[in-house]
């Protein structure tokens, strides 16, 4: 198992937003987390990537215990993530947004900057190249010199994924990568996620668009009120009583 959580949970002032969840993702696969609004999916991501400190349980990535590590250290250990809402710097170019993505793999410091050391030059070049590679991988390299604010929503989603890629991750946690884009674009993003897996990345995504999830995921976990109510292959989960009930109860508003 590449990623593993045991008993992972957090309580916000009495509310068990995530309740003792055991979860595993196998290397080179796509795992999806679904569930109604407010089910705790994003919070689960936040727990795994160090944005929240868990009240219970552990997180392990590739054998390394990440529990209680601050966010930036989980990235160093190979955990990359995107957010539900893009928060790229709109006024900067795509490339400028991306270059810093490789920072976590570099060492140059203030003195390297002042004395323009060979290390700084090398790492700047490396970061730039890695950024371009990631953009190319995500199919948005031709937008490198455009400002983020001037490109489409879908392109921004791709840039966010490219930024995660630039950190050289082992696993990518994608929080609703296809929110707010049309069906055709969703298909394109699904293709990108498949390409990630083909290139030996591991993906864990949260997504409301069931068509996308069903077509992509090797396995699905369903969260409801912070609890895992089902887990398994897409077909199993789709026919699971508890899942259908949870979605009906929450008011089915999905496109399918």
């Amino acid at each position: 198992m590449l990623l593993k959580t045991e008993n992972l949970g957090i309580t916000f002032g009495g509310l068990k937003a995530v309740n003792e969840v055991d979860f595993e993702v196998e290397r080179g696969t796509v795992a999806a987390i679904i569930g109604p609004n407010g089910a705790g999916k994003s919070t689960f991501f936040n727990l795994m990537s160090g944005f929240h400190k868990p009240t219970t349980g552990t997180v392990t990535l590739d054998g390394e215990n990440l529990t209680n590590l601050p966010a930036h250290k989980t990235v160093r250990s190979g955990m990359a993530r995107t957010f539900q809402t893009t928060n790229l710097f709109m006024e900067d170019t795509v490339l400028d947004n991306l270059i810093v993505g490789h920072r976590v793999r570099t060492k140059s410091n203030f003195f390297d900057a002042i004395f323009r050391t060979p290390r700084l030059r090398r790492e700047e070049k490396e970061s730039r190249e890695r950024a371009m590679e990631a953009l190319e991988f995500a199919g948005v390299d031709r937008l490198a010199n455009r400002t983020v604010g001037s490109i489409s929503q879908e392109a921004q989603k791709r840039v966010s994924i490219a930024l995660a890629l630039a950190t050289d991750p082992k696993i990518l946690l994608l929080d609703e990568p296809a929110a707010g884009v049309n069906n055709e674009e969703t298909e394109g993003l699904a293709t990108l996620i498949r390409k990630l897996v083909e290139h030996d990345y591991t993906v864990c995504l949260v997504e409301h668009k069931m068509s996308m999830v069903m077509g992509l995921a090797d396995k699905i976990m369903v969260l409801h009120h912070g609890e895992k109510i089902a887990e398994g292959a897409p077909k199993e989960v789709a026919s699971n009583e508890a899942v259908i009930e949870a979605y009906l109860g929450a008011g089915e508003e999905e496109d399918a």
């Binding site: 601050p70 990235v75 928060n87 710097f89 810093v100 976590v104 390297d112 900057a113 930024l163």
Partner: protein, 340 residues
Amino acid sequence: MAALSKHWKKIALVVVFVISLFVPVFVQNDYFLGIIILGYVWAIATYGLNILLGYTGQLSLGHAGFFGIGAYTVGVLTVNYEFPFWPSLLLAAIASSVLGFLIGIFALRTRNEYFAIFTLGVGFVIYLVIERWEGLTGGALGLIGVPYPEGIGPIQFDGPESIYYLILGFLILTIYIAWSIANSLVGRSFMAIRNSEELAAATGINVGRAKQLAFAISTGIAGLAGGLYATYIGFLGPAIVNVPTTFEILLYLLVGGMGSLSGPLVGAFLVTTLFQFLQQFEAYRLVILGPIVVILIIFFPKGLAGLWAALETRIKAMRGKGEMSGDAGASEEPAKEEAK
């Protein structure tokens, strides 16, 4: 096109540099030369604030306090202990930087407006300590007779002209530091934090440590400016360390343009010069400046540098339309329309 404008920028830079070298030749009047020298000193302090506020997005309102630490380090060491100037200046920058680093440990646990208020408090406490600690700082009376720097080899610092070159040298050094930070992965980390702390952390940046570094650099440069101020003016009173000075530096930065390389120099230079002309209206100074600040923030949030950049884009766009040949510029411009 970009290459061309870069080319012009280089030429402009050289021209400005050459002019700055000849300033003492043209400006024979010591009073006017003094205004320019002080403009440079405040520009240095503003570059310090720019690294924290402009690059990293953290508003510190304690900047004058760190300027004061630097000024009084030089003042106390040279006047009370007859220490030579140069090591005192070095200590001034180090002391304010280290103090900034230490205070940063606590201050940076707070965010946004809380950080601003916390640092405002820090600045005020520094002012109080300087004002009350009479034995060391001379209290309200201040320190008199901060000497000019000792000569270095054949160079003597014995009048406004030589001091002018001294401070010009430090200004250029500061601009170089600001430039090299902005054009490095360190600066990119700072700017990522300014954009979004969350996203910065998610790309693996140690947000706390980067902010701390930005704070230490910022206060170190403030201290350097303070030390230079002390030697040029020769007299130190606590008023210069007080909170209004912070707001003046902030004003220079807002006028010039946050986050830009030329902003601090342009802003500090323009506003301090303006201050001098308004001096006869001392009492009304803030009445005049207040509305200017408000207007600036509302209409030109990026200061003069932002205004300039906007004009440049507009001119480029106009040229692009004029040519209508649809070459180099064409790949860039339609992009922006698509978005709207």
